[in-house]
């Protein structure tokens, strides 16, 4: 087991950031940690790396108890921070070499490895440029590259695609998939469901500091297999109608986004007349049913739409 987390509790004042949180990550696994902002993802990551102490429970990484002081653990982890943590006045090469040097790499190793990493992140032609001139996507790639310099066994990526263009996002997702094929263990957090769907072999959905559900994507979808999902577009939706729909006992969950009600009804759509009657005065534009995906799993299990929370 690469990461073993058992019943971890972490409080910040009155806020319970991790609440009996447990997680196991096996070697070579790409685990997607999914949850809205404030779910506890970053706290979980910081606890795994040893940046914050936990109040209760147990964390071991590479089979070693994580007490925050163990350099052996740190040496084997690559951490991609959510915010850009590169030096903008320095060149890409200088950034890569500096972060590599923090892991005790020699001058020769730094020179060789920085070239390798530059190729991996697609910046081989821009190595001598100051990073302040880079686009957002290039900075993100360099941010990842800096954590790859010491060739870590475990890479922890905390929302690595925040604020970048689709092209760079795809590049990063492809790159994560490539890393996974080489057997690198990856912990990938995001509030973009499609990213987690694309890269993760296992998914852990967390909310309010604890695990809501975990498993492979098919396993998670199977949990809500019997539910019917309806998407009803209206001209002008309202919170009042949302409450009214939630009050219908046969409805399991309702979410509202951009004048579209997403309604989950267990066991198939048998109460469509009731639903239509409730919202008919809002002028229904379109009605659709859909196959459940990870977003629906999240909605069903948490009662929230992930993107709204982000």
């Amino acid at each position: 087991m690469i990461i073993h987390i058992e019943n971890v509790m972490k409080r910040f004042g009155n806020n319970l950031a991790l609440d009996t949180f447990s997680l196991d990550v096996k070697k070579g696994e790409v685990i997607g940690l999914l949850g809205p902002n404030g779910a506890g993802k970053t706290t979980c990551i910081r606890a795994i790396i040893g940046l914050i102490p936990i109040d209760d429970g147990e964390i071991s990484v590479f089979g070693i108890h994580q007490d925050g002081k163990n350099k052996e653990i740190k040496r084997r982890i690559g951490y991609v921070t959510q915010e850009l943590t590169i030096y903008e006045e320095m060149t890409a090469k200088e950034n890569l070499e500096f972060f590599g040097s923090l892991y005790g790499m020699t001058k020769e190793q730094l020179a060789t490895r920085s070239l390798e990493v530059a190729k991996i992140i697609g910046l081989e032609g821009r190595m001598r440029e100051k990073t302040k001139h880079f686009s957002g996507g290039m900075k993100r790639r360099l941010n990842i590259g800096c954590s790859l310099m010491h060739d870590p066994e475990l890479i922890i990526m905390d929302e690595p695609t925040v604020g970048i263009d689709p092209q760079s996002r795809n590049f990063i997702l492809e790159f994560v998939k490539q890393l996974a094929t080489k057997g690198t263990t990856i912990l990938y957090t995001s509030h973009y469901i499609e990213e987690v769907e694309a890269v993760a072999s296992n998914i852990c959905i967390m909310d309010q500091g604890h695990t809501i559900a975990s498993g492979t994507l098919p396993e998670l979808i199977a949990r809500i297999k019997g539910d019917a999902h309806m998407l009803i577009d209206v001209r002008i939706a309202s919170e009042e109608k949302l409450k009214a729909l939630r009050a219908i006992p046969e409805i399991k969950e309702v979410a509202l986004e951009n004048n579209q009600y997403h309604i989950i009804v267990p066991g198939g759509i048998t109460i469509i007349d009731k639903i239509i009657a409730e919202i008919a005065d809002q002028t229904i534009v379109n009605i659709n049913s859909k196959q459940p995906n990870l977003e629906d799993v999240f909605l069903t299990l948490t009662g929230k739409q992930l993107r709204d929370e982000a």
Binding site: Y79, L84, T85, L102, C146
Partner: protein, 243 residues
């Protein structure tokens, strides 16, 4: 790490412009106005050219502002998301901070040298006993780099440190009689010579220039003691930030 931080400091062109061009301009400006004026030192009556006093005074003054080199770098590393990335590595964070401090001291020293060389070779300032003068200058640099860092680490804010250092940097030269002559009373004279670390540095250097060992030591020893004090104060603060 040292090389990286040195390159990093050296690329802060704006800081170099302020810390080199400003004192050079001020020395040149005041020298132009008071050219040829010789003042009688308050210490033992030995006349020292005004240009020399200006050079020493402004070099010391801008070392105060130069303390931002270390605390701003520390702030951007340890009071920002960068902290997590650095602390996630096996590298000892204390060595990172020491590296920032030493490179900032080196850059501040190089800036001081440029100012002194300009004053000596372009304006013709008399600077005898240069090795001893430089020794006090180095002590002053170390003191002010530590001072700025301690203020920043204690307050947890680069902005607060900047305000405090800038205020001190504005008041200290006035209290040391750099901008205008102060009344010749025993109390004011004591303030002028000993109240601020900058004044201690100036007193020590003027003592060296006059071959007045007692005066040189009276400035140097308290400054040394204060520097050692800051060093010991710095240790637990680094621990607080990096743990």
């Amino acid at each position: 790490m040292f090389k990286f931080n040195l390159i990093r400091s050296s690329r802060d062109i704006f800081a170099h412009l302020i810390l080199i061009a400003f004192p050079v301009l001020l020395i040149a400006f005041f020298n132009f106005i008071f050219k040829g004026t010789a003042i009688v030192s308050e210490i033992n009556g030995t006349p020292i050219p005004y240009l020399t006093v200006l050079t020493v005074g402004f070099a010391l003054t801008f070392q105060i502002y130069g303390s931002s080199l270390s605390f701003e770098t520390m702030g951007s590393d340890f009071f920002s998301p960068m902290r997590d990335r650095l602390l996630a590595s096996p590298c000892n964070p204390r060595s990172l901070i020491i590296s920032i401090l030493t490179t900032s001291m080196l850059v501040s020293f190089l800036q001081t040298i440029v100012v002194l060389l300009f004053a000596k070779f372009v304006l013709g300032a008399l600077l005898p006993s240069l090795p001893f003068v430089m020794a006090v200058m180095i002590l002053s640099i170390v003191f002010h780099q530590l001072l700025g860092s301690v203020i920043m680490l204690a307050s947890g804010s680069v902005k607060t440190a900047n305000i405090i250092v800038s205020t001190y940097g504005s008041i200290a030269p006035m209290l040391a009689g750099l901008y205008f002559p102060l009344p010749d009373t025993p109390v004011i004279l004591a303030v002028e010579k000993y109240l601020t670390p900058m004044a201690l540095g100036k007193t020590a250097i003027l003592g060296i220039l006059e071959n007045n060992t007692g005066q040189a030591l009276a400035g140097t020893l308290p400054l040394l003691a204060l520097t050692i004090g800051l060093f010991f104060l710095m240790r637990p603060m680094i621990g607080k930030v990096t743990s």
